[in-house]
Each structure stands twice: as structure tokens, then as C-alpha cells.
């Protein structure tokens, strides 16, 4: 029913991407959906592909791995390690695309509940400039945030 809600993406610094979204559910359920493999499989791929593998060892030092099948039939595998696990509150984990193992990101996911609704924030931090560039794609370098700011300042509609 809440399909029209958009994820809000901001760029607090050049190394960080912040994603925010509200959910019409208490946070212990959002946490479950975020951490139980059977549930993660159902949403993690988004519109990009079906998730075939979701392995989650939810404890500090534990590993996770997800594999999705893309439209063209190829596989995309991601994995990482949990750095912090605070049930129903916060999860800090690393994430790396197996196709580019040098480019590791650190994800901090927080679950905040107010009146039965949950605000989820995902902060993606790249370990190094090289890692970030590799992950985001060729040509994407520093200055993205400034460019966005600039576009907002000149107030032109680009949508």
C-alpha cells in the first residue's frame, strides 16, 4: 500500500551516501525483515534481480553473503562481515562486490521507531577513494555532492 514512498538519497560528504525511508511497521519487524535470510531474499534484489542465496551469520565477526541473478542470467554476489549488531537498533557491516573485492564499503543501518512507525537509515561509507570510485563506476570521482549543491543553487529543474 505504501509503494509510492520514495527512498531519500543524500550525499553528506563525497565518501558517504545516506539513504532514508519510513516504514509503516514497528522496528522489530523491520529488523526481522532485514536480518532473516528467508525474508531478505524477498526484497534485497529490488528490481534488479532475484536473490538466490542469502546467508546471514548475525553476530560480530559473522559473515553474510547474497547472490542475485540479473536479467541477463549472470550472477552478482556480495558479501561482508558484521562489525556491530545491536538488535532492533543498529547493524554495522562491511559490504563488498565479489567482482571487485578491493572496493569495500561500510554500511551502518539504524532502525528508529516512533508511534509504531520506523525510520530506517542506511549510511554507506567507502573505505577509500579508490574503493568508492571502483564501486560507483568509472568517472565518478570527488565532487558529486558539490555538483548536486550547485544544481540546487542554480535551481534548474532537471527531472
Amino acid at each position: 500500500m505504501a509503494g509510492s514512498k520514495k527512498a531519500e538519497v543524500t550525499l553528506p560528504t563525497d565518501e558517504r551516501i545516506l539513504i532514508t525511508r519510513g516504514f509503516d511497521a514497528p522496528r522489530h519487524l523491520v529488523y526481522r525483515a532485514w536480518t532473516e535470510p528467508g525474508l531478505v531474499k524477498r526484497w534485497w534484489g529490488g528490481e534488479r534481480g532475484e536473490v538466490r542465496v542469502a546467508e546471514i551469520d548475525l553476530r560480530v565477526g559473522g559473515a553474510w553473503r547474497c547472490v542475485m541473478i540479473l536479467e541477463d542470467g549472470s550472477e552478482a554476489a556480495f558479501r561482508g562481515e558484521y562489525r556491530e549488531v545491536l538488535p532492533n537498533e543498529r547493524i554495522v557491516s562491511t559490504e563488498v562486490y565479489e567482482g571487485a573485492p578491493g572496493a569495500q564499503a561500510l554500511n551502518t543501518v539504524t532502525f528508529e521507531e516512533r508511534e509504531g512507525r520506523t525510520t530506517l537509515t542506511v549510511l554507506v561509507e567507502h573505505a577509500s577513494k579508490e574503493a568508492r570510485d571502483a564501486r560507483i563506476g568509472s568517472g565518478m570521482e570527488t565532487g558529486v555532492r558539490e555538483a548536486m549543491d550547485l544544481l540546487e543553487r542554480v535551481a534548474i529543474s532537471l527531472r
Binding site: A7, E8, V9, L11, I17, R21, F23, R42, L158
Partner: protein, 117 residues
């Protein structure tokens, strides 16, 4: 020096801090000749010209001749790829979250309804 300092797209063009300063300057006030860019940013003329050339190559800056003066102005539309990248990222996460909504509705029913299957 790099073998080819080619800035082939908007991402590369804005990657350089000086070039962002130039864009900022042009964003704040219409058209400016190169000597004003030089004066206001405190950089040398060759450097200003070099950056302006890169910005022109990706279309972020446009130039108009008025007499002997070349006037530069911002074309923010050229920065659209950056804007689009962020929007694409947003769409990807929205796709995930829309699915998560469906999962959550089921969990809520499971938890709330005694008669759930």
C-alpha cells in the same frame, strides 16, 4: 603531468576543486570574461583558461564572443548525468524498499492476527 588530462564527462569535469570553484562563480553571476575568473579566484590566466577549456569540452560552460571579449556562462544542464546517477541510486533503493513494504505487511498480519495461516 598525466598523459591525457582529458575530462571526458561531467563527473571528471567537476572532480577538480578549481573547476568547481569556477562553476560556482559562474553560477552566482551570469557571464564573466576570463580575466574576472582570474581575479576573483586568484589563479593564473593559463590555469583559468585550461579549466575553462575542460569545462567547455563537457558542455558545463558555454562561451559567447562580444567584441574582443569572450564571455563564459554556466550550462548546468551538462551536470545532469550526476543528477541522474543519484536519482538512479534512489530508484534502486526505492525498488528494494517497496518490496520490503510487502514483507512487512505480512509480518504485521502474522503478528497481529490470531487467525493468520
Amino acid at each position: 603531468m598525466a598523459r591525457a588530462a582529458a575530462a571526458t564527462d561531467a563527473f571528471n569535469a567537476v572532480a577538480e576543486p578549481r573547476r568547481r570553484e569556477i562553476l560556482d562563480l559562474l553560477a552566482s553571476g551570469g557571464e564573466r570574461p576570463v580575466n574576472e575568473v582570474v581575479r576573483l579566484l586568484g589563479i593564473s590566466q593559463p590555469l583559468a583558461s585550461k579549466h575553462l577549456r575542460v569545462l567547455r569540452e563537457v558542455g558545463a560552460v558555454e562561451v559567447r564572443e562580444e567584441g574582443r571579449l569572450r564571455l563564459y556562462r554556466l550550462n548546468a544542464r551538462a551536470l545532469k548525468p550526476i543528477h541522474d546517477w543519484v536519482r538512479g541510486y534512489e530508484r534502486f533503493w526505492s525498488g528494494r524498499f517497496d518490496r520490503l513494504d510487502v514483507v512487512l505487511e505480512e509480518l504485521k498480519e502474522e503478528e497481529g492476527g490470531g487467525g493468520g495461516g
